[in-house]
């Protein structure tokens, strides 16, 4: 039964609706009884991906729609995020290298950690531009007996 867990939500592009969406996603996943650490990975990755859509794909246009779906397959959660905003730069996923921290205080980076966290905590990350849509998909493994 739980192996069939899947859901889809849609919400408008804004900081606050991302916050609400993450809460909704956590509730939808609650039947799986994820460990705190696995839930942390899900929330961190989805937070980065969704904020990226709000800040960069849609930017100032506040009426954009974001659709997120999730399918559970054994010990993997497969997520797909779609929007109709701007394409990723050069139509490609950023490398997401960890910024260099071995620098003087004033040069310590305040950004550039988002894609690093996504790549670090997810698997099978893929990005496609289909017509006017961005389609990002990735998997997050989880432990437990769900």
């Amino acid at each position: 039964m739980l192996n069939k867990l899947q859901f889809s939500i849609d919400f408008p592009s804004s900081d606050m609706s991302v916050r609400n969406a993450l809460e909704q996603i956590k509730q939808s996943l609650s039947p799986l009884d994820l460990s705190m650490d696995d839930m942390a990975s899900v929330e961190v990755v989805l937070g980065e991906v969704l904020n990226n859509v709000v800040e960069h794909a849609y930017g100032q246009s506040l009426d954009g729609a974001i659709v997120l779906s999730c399918v559970r397959k054994n010990h993997m959660l497969r997520f797909c995020v779609e929007d109709e905003g701007k394409s990723l730069p050069n139509g490609r996923l950023p490398m997401g290298d960890l910024p260099n921290l071995d620098v003087p205080l004033q040069a310590i980076p305040e950004g550039g950690f988002g894609w690093y966290l996504v790549r670090n905590l997810s698997f099978d990350l893929s990005y496609k531009r289909i017509g006017q849509r961005n389609v990002l998909a990735f998997s997050i493994p989880f432990e437990g007996n769900g």
Partner: protein
């Protein structure tokens, strides 16, 4: 964003009274912290994150920005990282930039011993 502050002779303790330092909260966090630390003469600030259950890269950036605003003269340490916040600090190696105490009370010990 709400904070509670407690200043001893040596240290200004700033506790974040919010559950998230995320993209929706990062700007307000930075502005409030600028104000709070600007009013204090303490040369050592400890940011108590024990109520914060979630931080994202925007929130992380905001904490780094606060540290940079304080310049080299005031020290910013962190305390009370909850599991998700701790995970984000470890993965991004930001735990190598800050001194992190398990709980804010541990900071006072260094002054008592010293």
């Amino acid at each position: 964003m709400d904070f509670s502050c407690n200043e001893t002779s040596d240290v200004l303790f700033v506790k974040v009274e919010a559950e998230r330092i995320d993209a929706a909260a990062a700007i307000s966090f930075k502005e409030s912290m600028r104000e709070i630390t600007g009013k204090s003469a303490a040369s050592h600030v400890v940011l108590d994150l024990s109520k914060v259950g979630f931080i994202d890269s925007s929130g992380l950036g905001a904490i780094v920005a606060v540290m940079k605003l304080m310049g080299g003269t005031t020290r910013l340490d962190l305390a009370g990282l909850t599991p998700t916040v701790d995970k984000v600090f470890r993965l991004t190696r930001m735990d190598s930039i800050f001194t992190i105490y398990e709980q804010p009370e541990d900071v006072e010990k260094i002054y008592k011993v010293g």
